[in-house]
Amino acid sequence: MRKKVVLGVFTVGALVGGILSTKAFAQTDRELTPEEEMRLVQEFNRMLAEGVNPGEIWYEVGKAAIKKYNLDKCDLGLGPGVFKGAAAQLPRYFADAGKVMDLETRVGWCLQKYAGMTQEQVLKFVRECWGKTGNCVSEYDGIIMYLTMESNGHKINVNLKDPHVKKMFEIGKQIYYARLGPWDFNCATCHAGTKEVRIRATRLWSADRPGEAGQAVSIFPKYLVRWGLPMTMHYRYAECIRQMRWPEFIPHSDLGVALSTYLYGLANGTEIKAPGIGR
């Protein structure tokens, strides 16, 4: 049964991969022509209607990668190798590392400890598919997908009573409002306020409208039709920060942890439903 599902997903994946590698979705994230945009939207709608999410392919990739990199020893806070529901209680404070970590930062820590990677190697591993469009499957994306999907159905439950976590939440909140860079943006420029606004055709979620932060983060990693791969939260931060014209984001940094602590803290109580799907 499982095999059949996987096979089916792979067929769709190959199909999608084929479509994505066509000229319409060439190498850069340039702005699409209206025809390309229409095609993309149709493709996206079809997948939604059929309940197909190619992002699920990465679950199996991650399952294999976790064995390969000895991550079954990794403790996400519920004990070594206990992954069911573990992602839902992150970020949290880890005494062994002496700091608050979110899912991705913790996986990076475990890769150093159990797979013998250096910090540099981890960062390379994380960014393997960054900037790529079509036919890029990275083991890191798989690991994050697997670990998140193991928490599907669990409600996000960040322990804001822990003073370490609470402090990171406050730092994240202030970063959210820090105006910086040559375009004067902060996170709140786009994702705050009670008035609903659009950037071109895209409706923006807001931290100030109840439930929307939860809806936004509970579906990550999110499969992006235009790139043909799932986007993890830290990749999402990097892309936001690129568009804000700030210097490039470093994954697994405290900046990432602070943002995660704030956003997942706001999202407390929302059920995890990974992978999401978007254009």
Partner: protein, 224 residues
């Protein structure tokens, strides 16, 4: 006539300040974490590529704006300070205020590219120069745009600029008022979401003059 316009401008400004005062909102409550620590965490997560070090030097106006979730919650003193800082920073073209070339302005308004860089790709070219104005504004009729900023369709018409009064002193004053907004939006709308394009050098004074012409000139498609 000129006096009337200036008076109106003053009135709008004063009204804004009074409104902010009436709200009597407290400045943000005492912070649990220090500002320096926040900035340290923030900067620790950004590339230390020396080419971009200038990007993360927070200026005084940005520091003030970072303290308030929205302009409505700013005390009058903060509003005044940001306006004062911003007005002092405005530079004009070497010929002073003039009606620029709207066709050149249109290119800058239309282009979504400029300033974005990441080593993993998806970067703009160093020579790309665009305001990505449609992301937030509706401008030309029939062109899809965002709703974060005000609708600018027929902006020049709304300012009452026609072919007949194009060279009048009143029109020059109007061009200057719009120039100030595009060059440094915070001089009129403190802590607005709109980037301070001229202040940061995204656009030169001449570029700003061309963009203003695109918005105001009676021949521009904006005013058709």
């Amino acid at each position: 006539m000129k006096k009337g316009l200036i008076l109106t401008g003053l009135f709008v400004l004063v009204a804004g300040v009074v409104q902010a005062q009436q709200k009597k909102v407290q400045p943000k409550k005492e912070q649990a974490v220090k500002q320096e620590e926040v900035m340290q965490v923030l900067k620790s997560g950004l590339s230390s590529d020396p080419r971009f070090a200038w990007k993360i030097k927070q200026d005084e106006a940005q520091r003030i704006c970072s303290q308030y979730p929205s302009r409505e919650e700013m005390p009058a003193s903060a509003v005044q300070k940001v306006i004062q800082l911003s007005q002092a920073e405005i530079k004009y073209p070497q010929w002073g205020i003039y009606m620029g070339d709207w066709k050149e302005g249109k290119k800058l308004v239309d282009s979504p590219r400029g300033g974005r860089y990441a080593s993993y790709g998806f970067s703009d070219e160093p020579t790309d120069k665009g305001g990505n104005c449609y992301a937030c504004h509706l401008i030309e009729k029939g062109q899809p745009g965002g709703t974060m900023g005000p609708n600018l369709y027929q902006y020049g018409k709304r300012w009452g600029i026609t072919k007949e009064n194009l060279n009048s002193p009143e029109t020059i004053e109007k061009i200057k008022a719009v120039y100030n907004i595009v060059y440094n939006s915070w001089s009129a709308f403190p802590c607005s979401s709109m980037p301070r394009f001229g202040y940061h050098g995204v656009f030169s004074p001449e570029d700003v003059a061309n963009i203003v012409a695109f918005l105001l000139h009676p021949d521009s498609p904006v005013n058709k």
